[in-house]
């Protein structure tokens, strides 16, 4: 059986074009998670994404960022998982879902459209 894959899209409006934008991805519910993405400079980032510099607003406007995250249920108190995307310190979206069985994993595949 395939692991659950939660596919989402986020439209993020770049309000100040000369400003630098950075991305943080966090996993809640006491569950361990990691991510991978191909940044706009062509470099791959894997693992913990913390204040990853994406570039200035004018350079990333109109672009899409594909992010693959995975969370594994290692918390005996809950089967709930969540992933939160934060840009420049502001939480822009949280997605959440339950794993199907204890200790299973779940993918969050998210595309952020910078508009």
């Amino acid at each position: 059986m395939n692991m659950k894959n939660v596919v989402n899209k986020i439209d993020f409006t770049l309000e100040i074009l000369p400003k630098e934008y950075s991305l943080t991805i966090t996993f809640g519910e006491g569950q361990p998670g990691n991510s991978a993405l191909k940044n706009f400079d062509g470099k791959y980032q894997t693992g913990s994404i913390n204040n990853l510099l994406l570039g200035k607003g004018k350079s990333i406007k109109g672009k899409k960022l594909l992010i693959s995250s995975i969370v594994t249920d290692a918390n005996e108190n809950t089967n709930h998982t969540s992933v939160t995307y934060t840009i420049n310190g502001n939480e822009i979206k949280t997605f959440e879902d339950d794993v199907d069985t204890d200790n299973s994993s779940i993918y969050y595949t998210t595309t952020i459209n910078f508009i």
Binding site: N2, G28, G30, Q31, S35, K38, A74, S104, S105
Partner: protein, 462 residues
């Protein structure tokens, strides 16, 4: 079948009079029943373990061990469980036999509770994430009026104020750390594979392999950790490339099919490995593997419904437990010092000659194992105040009460002579005067033999 042979047992009726033949009784008994000696040893004894904070205080104060316990994990499930049990024809009722346990904290989502804080929580976080509420009901025949059946409800709360730590100075930490790191590497493998394969659109398998290979090499170049790099290269060479190279897809739709099949194979492979690591992380971060300071708190109360109507109830018993302990990890063994304090007030009508009793237990114990040797010892103090009557004369209240206090201590020494033979010596004094038990001491030397056991071969032959 394991048979334990007890060769010698000394039973001395009064403590510290081992060699006083006038008062003592010497027995040599050969017993072929393991359970026989266990019962003889345990009858009437109270141990520290009996007085620790109960895991489900409501069930303990009610004196029930429910077979079925509802464990709602969401607010909807909690409301549904409560409604279906306590509401009948739009009226509140007391269910006959009901048991429920839930963790209020885990009913909600916690987006900001990260793995590290969950594993090594602060004091406040520990109280929140380890709290649980238990609720149970039962019906008991009134001992005074046996035609009357009373409904009773137990409500309890427990939590860990401190839950020890996973300290970076022992083997357990090393295993936990290793399993956590392996989980991270597997998760990185999984997400990197997804991010590489998902966006590729190709008309044939050769183009897919070429694009994938190019992107993979680029991704590897960006990795800084050599061990992770090696693991991801191995993953790619062992699983991904062989599968792609054996396919002959020559159209876009065929390539998509190959991609989906590959994703499924990789998912299956990783899912099982991730599950194993997650289970080990749970195992090695459990309370039983932690060291340092622990403090467990529990509270429960017993509600009596004399008219069996939910509108009228009274608290007939309540109790508070506080269980501090400290654990060290020394030479691959745990050393535990455990304390207990327990207070129970009982004004149940079942205690005929009292208005209420106050029971206070306190104690400390130590447990140490080192290969062949193990030692554990404990001292428990008990105080009971039994209020028999209260009389009001003018402005003066006259209270008649009886007070008892007593002490129990014991030390157990075990020596493992061989894999199947353990020599044990126990001595001490049980509660003598009062309250719930009436037996005294104990000095006992025993040899325990284990003869074989069930083998895989014998099971297969059955």
């Amino acid at each position: 079948m394991t048979l334990i042979l007890i060769i010698v047992q000394y039973i001395i009726l009064q403590p510290l009079t081992l060699f006083d033949m006038k008062r003592g009784l010497f027995q040599i008994m050969i017993l072929f029943s393991y359970f026989g000696i266990c019962q003889a040893q345990n009858k009437g004894e109270t141990t520290l373990a009996d007085l620790q904070s109960p895991s489900s205080p409501a069930f303990t104060i009610l004196g029930v061990q429910p077979n079925e316990i509802s464990k709602p994990y969401s607010l909807n499930a909690l409301v549904t469980t409560m409604y279906s049990s306590f509401v009948d024809n739009n009226n509140l009722v007391i269910p006959k036999n009901f048991a429920m346990e839930f963790s209020p904290y885990w009913i909600n989502s916690h987006h900001k509770l990260f793995f590290d804080e969950y594993i090594n929580p602060s004091c406040w976080q520990s109280i929140k994430q380890n709290s649980s509420i238990s609720l149970a009901t039962t019906q008991i025949v009134n001992k005074i009026d046996t035609s009357n059946i009373n409904s009773k409800m137990g409500i309890g709360f427990r939590t860990m104020i401190f839950n020890g730590k996973i300290e970076d100075n022992n083997n357990i930490y090393s295993i936990f750390n290793q399993e956590s790191n392996l989980l991270i590497v597997l998760q990185k493998n999984a997400t990197l594979f997804k991010i590489l394969i998902t966006p590729i659109g190709a008309d044939n398998i050769d183009t897919l392999i070429a694009i994938y290979d190019r992107e993979f090499k680029s991704a590897i170049k960006d990795l800084s950790d050599e061990d992770e790099k090696e693991s991801i290269i191995h993953f790619n060479e062992a699983l991904v490339l062989p599968f792609l190279k054996k396919n002959k897809a020559q159209s876009k739709s065929q390539v998509e099919l190959v991609k989906n099949n590959l994703i499924q194979i990789i998912d299956d492979e990783l899912e099982n490995k991730l599950k194993e690591k997650a289970k080990n992380i749970q195992k090695y971060s459990a309370s039983t593997k932690r060291t340092g300071f622990f403090l467990e708190f529990a509270y429960s109360l017993l509600l009596d419904f004399p008219t069996n109507n939910i509108d009228y109830s009274k608290v007939t018993k309540w109790g508070v437990w506080l269980t501090p302990s400290y654990r060290w990890y020394y030479k691959n063994q745990y050393i535990d010092i455990l304390g207990i304090t327990r207070y129970i007030r009982n004004s149940s009508t079942l205690i005929i000659d009292s208005i209420f009793t106050d029971n206070f237990d306190y104690g400390i114990g130590i447990k140490f194992e080192d290969g062949k040797y193990s030692i554990n010892g404990e001292i428990i103090g008990r105080y009971q105040s039994r209020t028999i009557s209260k009389e009001q004369i003018d402005d003066v209240t006259i209270t008649k009460s009886k007070k008892y206090s007593d002490i129990h201590y014991s030390i157990n020494l075990n020596y493992k002579i061989s894999e199947n033979i353990i020599m044990s010596y126990s001595f001490g004094s049980n509660f003598q005067k009062n309250t719930e038990y009436n037996s005294s001491l104990i000095s006992m030397l025993s040899l325990s033999y284990g003869f074989g056991g069930i083998t895989n071969k014998s099971i297969k032959g059955m």
